[in-house]
Subunit: 208 residues, 2 copies
DNA sequence: CGATCCATCCTCCGAAAGGACGACTCCACG
DNA sequence: CGTGGAGTCGTCCTTTCGGAGGATGGATCG
């Protein structure tokens, strides 16, 4: 019997997963969680085989799904973690994998894909949704111009529509510094203007 | 007995809704739909009291939730339509209301809010999630600078990172015209730069 | 210890963006 | 049949942005 913990902030989704797995022989949902912290607590308490956790939790949540994944994988008898997400464009894909997730699933996946993934995870295998897998490969192929945290910070303000002067004021640096960061960002992203940079950053999931 | 049709492209969400309502006395789910078209067909065939339909369907769907709402409300024995959505920032709120939805619910709403809304809808009352209601009021208060279709077209290209000259070339107009459109957009949105315009347009759901 | 990346700061200059006028069509609406 | 809005175009002018180039200190890592 595979002992499963499901974690999602939407009661509806939790009910759906519960209904799905209750029909599934050999899989038992031993706990539900509505927040990342609850998920970690449940994983520690119930000592399940697999944890199925959403990546996006509501804004009021303390931590993220990726963070919870990391903490769950750091437990003594660490269960396998399957990550669930709405969007295949999510920037946290890599983060989740690094955090120790053994699978990555889309919420619009057909049910049998879900159950198959749970079984695969319980067996210690990794299971990626095909879309995700190919996207990961893409990302591997493309040298993946990753922005520094400071650069992301700058780009985030730019995406909010702030001018260079405003960004400079916000970050307590000179405007030349902002321009310098932006210049790096442009070359890394292969674009020539701030709006284009924001556009591709959104596309790649660097911004949301 | 309230006869209910549920429509959502995520099998998980459908299962969740189904599970939720199956526990609910006096409510019976008579059909499920995975696409807007299926939802319309089911509404016509089953002649339900209420249709619960998602606004966002996957990219491969032919039409939108709002469109389906309109068509369902145009049926002879038109059932009431409750619209379900992930985000309270959705631009289609007004569209859905105009299309004849009698309620607007968030997916992270607690289950009892859902069932209450279905009962209210079946009784012919309208039910809006509190968040949505206040947001609607906000929108009423703010004169709602709506952009013309041409302006949206321009802004969309700008959001993709194209320059004024490129936008002009794309739309077969002069650059002056593009700048003119942008100037109007800026005043309408109360901003001073293209990136800021894109930002608030996204926020208001004018762009996605 | 160098190598490397990052963040910070310059200057100079051309190109792009935006503001402020005005003006011409077309079409819908009363 | 006007009136007005939307879309189109223009000019002149100022500000901002972005490119090119270089320089400094700090952190990290083999």
């Amino acid at each position: 019997m595979i002992r499963l913990v499901i974690a999602d902030d939407h009661p509806i989704v939790r009910a759906g997963l519960l209904a799905l797995f209750s029909l599934e022989p050999g899989i038992e949902v031993v706990a539900e969680a509505g927040t990342p912290d609850e998920a970690v607590a449940a994983a520690e308490r119930e000592n399940p085989d697999v944890v199925l956790i959403d990546l996006q939790f509501g804004a009021q949540a303390a931590s993220t799904g990726a963070e919870a994944t990391r903490r769950i994988r750091a437990l003594d008898a660490a269960p396998y973690v399957l990550v669930l997400t709405n969007y295949d464009s999510d920037a946290d894909i890599l983060g989740a994998i690094e955090a120790g997730a053994s699978g990555y699933l889309l919420k619009d996946a057909p049910p049998h894909e879900l159950t198959a993934a749970v079984r695969a995870a319980a067996a210690g295998e990794s299971a990626l949704a095909p879309v995700i897998a190919s996207r990961l490969l893409d990302r591997m192929r493309a040298p993946q111009a990753s922005l520094s945290s400071r650069e992301i910070e700058v780009l985030d303000l730019v995406a909010a529509g702030r001018s260079n002067t405003e960004v400079a004021a916000d970050l307590f640096v000179s405007e030349t510094t902002v321009k310098s960061h932006l210049a790096h960002i442009f070359t890394k992203l292969g674009v020539a203007s701030r709006t284009a940079a924001v556009s591709v950053a959104r596309q790649r999931g660097i911004l949301r």
